[in-house]
């Protein structure tokens, strides 16, 4: 295998895992924009997405096109319940307390998942059967296209949602100034509930598409949350498309490091990038410094 095709292989691997980071990062941004909370239970939504899908399609033998929407609905409901029972009652607490609550929730979610599924990793069959495709000497699994396609669809849909629909515009308004938004007749609490539901929904989709490639177990959440968070900060916290590009950058650099240099240091790459960004351009690659000055986190 030539060096070129090796690198191409790593880039595709990076794009695949980067898509997941992108979706987690997007989830961070949606909640952050509505509440300025950093939801550290974001990775657990991905974990639930993967594991519930396994339960529905492998154990209950539901076909893909029924299992997929059911899983997404279930995880969205988990996100909404989380907001109702943990974030909503503490609406007067400090931001730090709320972030700690999301940490407690992530521990609780992991506990529930381990109670139901145990400690073993689970896998799903790929969405479409067939032999891998060769591009420039790199071997690409069909599931990779599913992952990339889904990410693209998610990006397009969320962009449309936030720019073209009334609810989406209302949510954006809350992120700029909740007070002004509520004066305009926007129900801010509802928007916060919606932001948690939406970001759980994105997490579920990410979990479903990645499980056939990288397996899923109850303890996968925290590392995904950390990487997704890096993606979001790299792109500029709160900047929608920033998280997507940030996710791809983190994913590709990580997979190149693992392949060409030291595999053990793979997990450190994202974090080294994070520290550099914080030192030299804290508003992120695509965030504006003016906006970051008025934000609370």
């Amino acid at each position: 295998m030539s060096l070129f095709s090796q690198i191409l292989q790593f880039v595709f691997t990076g794009l695949t895992i980067g898509s997941i980071y992108s979706m987690v990062g997007l989830g961070f941004n949606i909640i952050y924009n509505a509440t300025t909370i950093i939801n550290l239970a974001q990775g657990e939504f991905v974990m639930f997405g993967g594991l519930i899908m396994v339960f529905l399609t492998v154990v209950l033998k539901f076909p893909l096109f029924i299992g997929f929407p059911l899983t997404v609905m279930a995880v969205t409901a988990i996100g909404a319940l989380f907001e109702r029972f943990a974030i909503h009652p503490l609406r007067n607490a400090s931001l730090l307390t709320l972030i700690i609550v999301t940490i407690a929730a992530s521990i609780l979610f992991r506990g529930i998942a381990m109670f139901i599924w145990g400690k073993d990793p689970y896998t799903l069959p790929p969405f479409t059967q067939g032999s891998p495709v060769m591009i420039g000497g790199a071997v690409i699994m069909l599931q990779t296209f599913w992952v990339l396609g889904t990410t693209l669809a998610i990006v397009v849909l969320t962009t449309l949602f936030f720019n073209k629909t009334i609810i989406g515009k209302a949510m954006s308004a809350c992120s700029f100034n909740p007070m002004a938004a509520s004066l305009m007749g926007i129900h801010v609490r509802k928007m916060i509930l919606l932001s948690f539901a939406l970001s759980a929904c994105l997490g579920a989709v990410a979990g479903i598409v990645i499980t056939p490639i990288s397996l899923m177990d109850y303890d996968r959440g925290p590392i995904l949350a950390v990487k997704g968070f890096c993606a979001a900060v790299l792109g500029g916290l709160g900047v929608g498309y920033g998280a997507v590009l940030g996710g791809f950058i983190v994913g590709i650099l990580e997979s190149l490091t693992a392949g060409l240099a030291l595999s053990g240091f793979k997990d450190a790459v994202a974090l080294v990038i994070l520290l550099f960004i914080l030192c030299f351009k804290p508003s992120g690659l695509f965030g504006s410094e003016e906006v970051s000055k008025i934000k609370k986190f």
Binding site: L90, T97, I99, A104, L108, F115, V226, L271, L278
Partner: protein
């Protein structure tokens, strides 16, 4: 540090002083030693959170730097325990400055983000530098602490050592809070702009507190390494950083006494949940969530409130 605090420190010292006379079991003594070690770190974090309004998501890294410096330098290089201890502190301070100077100049919670990254990087380094740290399988054979031929081996001797350090740091922390620096810090926590207008150098104070909290963690790391005599990276993971932060919040973010309480509760809790075997994480999650939902200000505040309520009632 105020009369009430002085009295409380006095009572705590006496209670701890007589503890080994009544409880002889090595198991309970070692739990108390772990509480002491955690309490040292949590006091530092509590100063950072309660008085500078910042959180650290990577304090286990400083804990680890202290422990690994002590471990590696005494085992591999044969340096004396005291030298290794000061190397750990020096390294922690340098690292803390390197993180704090760029991030604490900025407004907002960039420190939390940076420490999260830093903690994970240090964790990866502990795992990957096989020749130096022993990698995932850890480093063993760390010698116990001895001063002038007196060895701190055996449960109760180490118990006194750890708690002496903890109480000295407690007194030091209480003094800081009630000094000019402490007032400046509280002003920063209340309103940065107002503090700045009063001539408080906000970012400099924040950096100082962060470095101090890193130093506390490094001291705790050394105490940990020489007590357990074996260290491995899993003791210094992100989960531990989060657990330490939890201790601050559960105890009550704004007070050093709350920090002690939080360290005590969250060190004992996993031990008492052993009976649940694999489900301990579920029970643990439920308890944390319940405390946060019903006492968002922390247990210390919750108890004080219910005490005043009871006093009014009767």
């Amino acid at each position: 540090m105020g009369k009430e605090n002085l009295r409380a420190v006095f009572i705590l010292t006496i209670c701890l002083g007589v503890f080994p006379f009544f409880i002889r079991s090595d198991y309970y003594l070692s739990i108390m030693i772990f509480i002491g070690i955690n309490a040292i770190i949590v006091m530092g974090l509590s100063l950072l959170m309660g008085y500078a309004g910042q959180i650290s998501l990577g304090h286990a890294a400083f804990f680890g730097i202290g422990a690994y410096c002590s471990g590696v330098l005494t085992v591999k290089l044969g340096l004396s325990i005291v030298t290794a201890f000061f190397c750990g502190i020096f390294l922690s301070i340098v690292m803390a400055l390197a993180i704090a100077i760029p991030t604490l100049k900025l407004k907002g919670h960039y420190l939390a983000v940076a420490t999260l990254g830093f903690g994970e990087i240090i964790y990866v380094i502990f795992n990957e530098l096989l020749e130096i740290t022993g990698g995932p399988s850890g480093l063993s054979g760390i010698p116990p602490i001895h001063f002038f031929g007196y060895s701190f081996k055996g449960g109760w001797r180490y118990f006194y050592l750890v708690w002496t350090v903890a109480i000295l740091l407690l007194i030091f922390s209480l003094n800081i809070i009630h000094s000019r620096v402490g007032r400046a810090l509280r002003a920063v926590h209340g309103s940065e702009v107002a503090a700045q207008a009063m001539g408080v150098n906000v970012s400099q104070f924040k950096i100082q507190v962060f470095v101090l909290s890193a130093l506390y963690a490094s001291v705790a790391g050394t105490l940990y390494a020489h007590f357990v005599t074996f260290i491995s990276p899993s003791t210094f993971s992100l989960f531990v950083s989060i657990l330490l932060l939890m201790m601050v919040v559960i105890g009550g973010g704004g007070s050093i006494w709350g920090a002690l309480l939080g360290a005590g509760i969250l060190t004992i809790l996993p031990e008492s949940l052993r009976a649940f075997r694999d489900f301990d994480i579920l029970v643990y999650g439920v308890i944390l969530m319940a405390i946060l939902l019903f006492m968002p200000e922390g247990i210390f505040k919750g108890l004080t409130l219910s005490a005043t309520w009871m006093r009014k009632k009767w």
